[in-house]
């Protein structure tokens, strides 16, 4: 232990000077570890060289600032670095696939993509919609209630960070099986049931207190999430585009507003950029912040007033990296430097070291740039809304970051050095999965199989969770999470954000964790298709996408290889569908001693409903209507819930023919526009049989289907036709009077497979003319509702 590497600064308390100049490589690593910098030896050497050129040793404030700025969480080293895969070098996954497809689609309605805290698309009457989805996995693993609550808090501040007023949130969470054996849990890992209850409670607590409705989401269960829970929160906001002001300049004050700064959330980003261990709870508890939704509510009100009065020239949230990221990125964005006086930052208690103040991730704080002439007016707004606000520094024309504490300089770093992040080069490989296609006998009692499937946790009703969120607050929820007298699951939420416009916003998501075990490319493709078809089903058009990659440790070539394949799918599928990505985020290092997460891509889709009066819900409307199946069915059961029920994964993962699907979706959208579609529901987990059952039991209208009507050359088994999870398929209810018009419009994409009935039963005729499923709707509904009703 070379303790003489650290010396207390002679000028100011609580600041260490680190003897970097004479440190050996071993000592460099030791310094990185001791100060929890999370920097590699190469990075430490770069830092050492920089301070040698400045002829001095760095302070701990400087090292912590560099560490935060260069962390995976803040600068996305993996997505922006180089990757060697398949004999080729990929120069930034982000640029090569995600940003590229958006650029090539070049949609005129994209107002601002990837550059700011959230993506913005144009909406109506001069308004835009801002969208952002983030994960908060590591904090939620240690403290599920607080972690999930702050997930909402953080993503809402991202929306506020583009001057938008939050109008809706989403929540996607993934857990280990709720019946997981306690004895098999690793030390430090919390039981899935505990996480399930507390993450839902955290989301509910924060969003309800803040008064923003959670309108859409998903809950998934998979063994691989046992050690690495996923808590993913989205937020959508409304902003008048002419008030989107971002023009800060040297001389503007740096104003910090909101909650006080404390020791909570120290090293949150370094925590997020490492694997979880059994010690995470003791070492990382300070990394989970306490949350105060009312503080955020007040902040939100003040921000909207300041926006409308145009008192600030820039805004950004204090999220990962705290002040260090917000100040640094603001200065960098406007080609400035900055001076900051840390003793002006309001603190929760005394004794914080300057570096702690600078990188703390205490919640409910926001950073503004305010021109000198507006400073008094801006501070008055904060005062009226009871928000503490302080000018802590100024943007400067000199490109240096100068941090003082009680007037003593504790950091003075060149901005170019700070933001010249060295691109790493990582190795990626991908080997085929060690899986085989199972040989299953067709069950004799398919009714029973369907009942079992409906009760599978991934399929079962999530209504008990959805009802703990105030999905009605703001009074704009046109299509709610559940539909019909008996609450079937809607495919997407629809909002009516503007009082004087019938235009709506459709929000949906797609996630297929099980497919990732077989093929990350088709997993990603399927998630994109699912999010889009859910959106199409309710009448959404002009769809924009948000990506959230949740992967294991990217230092391991296999994990990285699968990430590359998923990114390739993002490019290919988004290109074919002409649906640009407008925002995204990667959460890597989701790995614990219990193993990595299965590669998971959560896609959030944002569509426009031209007139909410033509919104389509999923429940059957009247008996004696016709039921059509859109899309083709293939023997694609790999990763399906049906295989899972039988204890298999399989290999035949659903693939996707996006060009054909796009034509079908286009025609369906037209049919919805013409008012021909009475109800529509997407086929996903559990396939045709599950989707049909859900439509029927949602309003207690019966349904008879005939599997022989399904066009298909390859499937000879009833169970495969019933439970295949082939993509791009939807069920559509049409009135007999519209039959010929509908069929003409849909060309060959749609097949009539059954009709709605007055008997409250689901009856399905098999390939050999026999009735293979015959069940009262109440029985199906009960099976679907009971699994998670009291979990």
């Amino acid at each position: 232990m070379s303790s003489n590497l650290y010396m207390q600064s002679a000028k100011v308390d609580n600041v260490l000077e680190v003897a970097l100049a004479r440190a050996t490589p071993v000592e460099l690593v030791e310094i990185s570890n001791k100060l929890a910098l999370g920097l590699s030896l190469d990075e430490m050497k770069t830092v050492q060289a920089y301070f040698k050129s400045e002829n001095r040793n760095p302070s701990d404030v400087e090292l912590q600032t560099i560490s935060q700025t260069w962390s995976e969480h803040c600068c996305h080293k993996t997505f922006k670095g180089n990757i060697l895969f398949d004999g080729k070098e990929i120069n930034s996954l982000f640029k090569t696939y995600i940003a590229k497809v958006t650029k090539e689609i070049n949609a005129p309605w994209c107002f601002n993509v990837f550059e700011d805290n959230a993506g913005i698309v144009k909406f109506d009457k001069g308004f835009g919609i801002a969208a952002k989805v983030e994960t908060h996995n590591h904090p939620s693993a240690v403290d599920p209630f607080g972690g999930a609550a702050n997930g909402i808090g953080g993503v809402v501040r991202d929306i506020l960070g583009v001057w938008a007023d939050p109008i809706a949130c989403t929540g996607v969470s993934c857990f280990g099986p709720l019946n997981f054996d306690y004895n098999k849990l690793f030390l430090g890992v919390k039981h899935p049931r505990y996480l399930y209850r507390n993450i839902a409670a955290g989301l509910s607590f924060y969003s309800n207190n803040l008064g923003v409705p959670i309108v859409n989401g998903a809950t998934c269960f998979d063994e691989s999430y046992t050690g690495n829970v996923v808590a993913c929160c989205g937020c959508f906001g409304l902003l008048p585009l002419d008030k989107y002001l971002k023009n800060a300049k040297a001389g503007d004050y740096i104003v910090m507003a909101g909650g006080k700064t404390g020791r909570d959330g120290i090293h949150g980003v370094t925590f997020a950029s490492a694997e979880l261990t059994k010690k995470s709870e003791e070492t990382s508890n300070p990394a989970v912040q306490t949350s105060d939704p009312i503080a955020e509510e007040k902040l939100k009100r003040a921000i909207i007033i300041i926006r409308d009065l145009q008192l600030a020239s820039a805004i950004t949230d204090l999220g990962g990296g705290g002040l260090s990221s917000a100040v640094g990125e603001t200065a960098e964005r406007y080609h400035c430097g900055a001076t900051v006086e840390l003793s002006k930052v309001p603190v929760k208690y005394s004794g914080l070291a300057p570096w702690e103040i600078y990188i703390s991730e205490s919640q409910e704080r926001q950073l503004f740039a305010v021109p000198p002439e507006h400073l008094d007016a801006a501070l008055a707004v904060f005062k009226q809304e009871e928000v503490e606000a302080t000018a802590i520094g100024q943007l400067t024309s000199e490109r240096r970051l100068k941090i003082k504490y009680q007037t003593v300089t504790v950091a003075d770093v060149d901005m170019t050095f700070l933001f010249n992040i060295i691109a790493s080069t990582k190795q990626a490989t991908l080997s085929p999965p060690m899986l085989t296609e199972p040989e299953l006998a067709e069950p004799a009692d398919l009714t029973n199989t369907l009942i079992q499937l409906l009760g599978m946790p991934n399929i079962a009703s999530k209504e008990s969770v959805a009802q703990t969120y105030d999905y009605e607050v703001k009074g704009n929820t046109v299509l709610k999470p559940f539909q019909g007298k008996y609450a079937g699951p809607n495919d997407a939420a629809v909002l009516k954000p503007l009082h004087n416009s019938w235009k709506g916003l459709a929000i949906s998501c797609g996630i297929n964790p099980n497919y990732g075990k077989i093929d990350p490319y088709w997993m990603a493709a399927s998630s994109i298709d699912e999010a889009i078809r859910n959106n199409i089903a309710v009448g959404g058009r002009r769809i924009a996408l948000l990506d959230n990659f949740i992967w294991g440790n990217p230092e391991k070539p296999e994990r990285l290889g699968s990430l590359v394949r998923a990114c390739q799918a993002c490019y290919d599928i988004a290109k074919a569908y002409r649906t640009p990505f407008i925002s995204g985020k990667d959460s890597l290092y989701n790995e614990s001693p219990m193993g990595p997460v299965t590669p998971t891509l959560i896609i959030t889709a944002l569509g426009i409903v031209p007139d909410i009066r033509s919104t389509i819900s999923m429940n059957l409307k009247t008996p004696e209507n016709l039921l059509y199946l859109l899309g083709n069915t293939y023997p694609e059961l790999g990763g399906s819930e049906y295989y899972k029920l039988n204890g298999h994964i399989g290999l035949s993962v659903p693939k996707l023919q996006p060009h054909r699907a796009r034509k079908n979706y286009y025609n369906l959208t037209k049919a919805i526009g013409y008012g021909m579609v009475k109800s529509c529901h997407d086929l996903s987990d559990g396939g045709l049989a599950v989707a049909a059952a859900e439509m029927a039991f949602a309003s207690n209208i019966g349904l008879t289907l005939d599997l022989k009507a399904i066009p298909n050359k390859t499937i000879t088994r009833n169970d495969f036709l019933l439970f295949s999870e082939s993509n791009s398929r939807l069920l559509i209810e049409v009135s007999p009077k519209d039959r010929s018009d509908f069929e003409a419009l849909m060309k060959n994409g749609c097949t009539l497979i059954g009709e709605t009935t007055k008997t409250e039963k689901l009856q399905i005729h098999g390939l050999h003319n026999n009735i293979i499923i015959d069940a009262p709707l109440t029985k199906l509904r009960d099976a679907w509702k009971k699994t998670l009703a009291e979990a």
Binding site: N209, K474, G475
Partner: protein, 272 residues
């Protein structure tokens, strides 16, 4: 008084969340509507300039202590005199959800005793426990005392959503029967949870969604001028807010919540 001259003040504090949609509902009816932060009212407004005060839904002050408790104390301390003067003139106040909780905490509802005494009625944690957002049916049980429902037929069934975790009306255990009698005798029971066909919920979950005593969802004061209710009429203003609108072929432009707002506006136009 003309409708367009009626002034409605929607009072907000830290944690109020339903002010905008409540204002939108009143604006739809053609009255002047202002949303005022309590700090603004304290510095430069007079409550007596308004014809209707509304405490909207939300989680004022984070529901700390008890929902509405801090806001009620704050209102009392900062605006108590004006509020007394306002209510002495029998002018109307509407409390929705957190607003209802605040009126109870303030003592304006049921208004049986002065503020120094221990309350005999409270709104407490749901049974089953926890936050619940769902649509419910309500029956107007008021016989004509309440100025927010007196133009509706008695037994009119209304559909609205609830969203709260503390909406269970609880009466002082030893005086339960007496207090209920007193509420009934003074025609203070306004809305009760019921089945779709209007038959009483009889404490059956989830028809009665929170275990509230006697299925009560909303009460008014003796004078009928102050109404508190847990359901949200402002979320049931338009047909497209209803959960089953996609099932219907014919839709009227408005929904049941409007009846309550309209009712009080009509009364103000005729009385004042």
């Amino acid at each position: 008084m003309k409708t367009k001259d009626i002034k409605v003040c929607i009072i907000r504090a830290a944690g109020t969340s339903c002010d905008a949609e409540t204002a939108r509902a009143f604006q739809e009816l053609g009255v002047q509507t202002e949303i005022k932060h309590i700090n603004e009212l304290v510095t430069n407004s007079n409550l007596l300039n308004y014809n209707l005060l509304v405490l909207p839904g939300g989680c004022t002050f984070g529901d700390h202590v008890r929902p509405g408790a801090v806001f009620a104390k704050y209102l009392n301390k900062k605006l108590g005199k004006q509020i007394t003067q306002y209510t002495d003139e029998n002018r109307p106040i509407l409390g929705i959800s957190n607003g209802f909780q605040t009126l109870i905490e303030y003592g304006l509802l049921p208004g049986f005793n002065d503020n120094n005494q221990q309350p005999e009625i409270t709104l407490t944690t749901n049974i089953p426990n926890g936050f619940k957002c769902q649509w419910v049916y309500l029956k107007n049980e008021n016989k004509g005392n309440c100025s927010f429902t007196n133009q509706l037929p008695k037994d009119k069934i209304l559909k609205m959503p609830i969203a709260h975790s503390e909406g269970r009306l609880l009466l002082h255990a030893e005086k339960e029967k007496q207090l209920l009698q007193k509420l009934a005798d003074n025609d203070m029971i306004v809305l009760r949870y019921c089945n779709r066909d209007g038959t009483p919920a009889n404490q059956t979950y989830p028809i009665n969604p929170n275990g509230t005593y006697h299925d009560i969802a909303g009460i008014c004061n003796k004078e009928g001028t102050i109404l508190g209710l847990m359901p949200h009429p402002e979320r049931a203003m338009h047909w497209w807010q209803e959960p089953d609108w996609t099932d219907k072929t014919h839709t009227t432009p408005y929904s049941d919540g409007k009846l309550i707002f309209e009712n009080i506006i009509n009364n103000i136009t005729t009385k004042q």
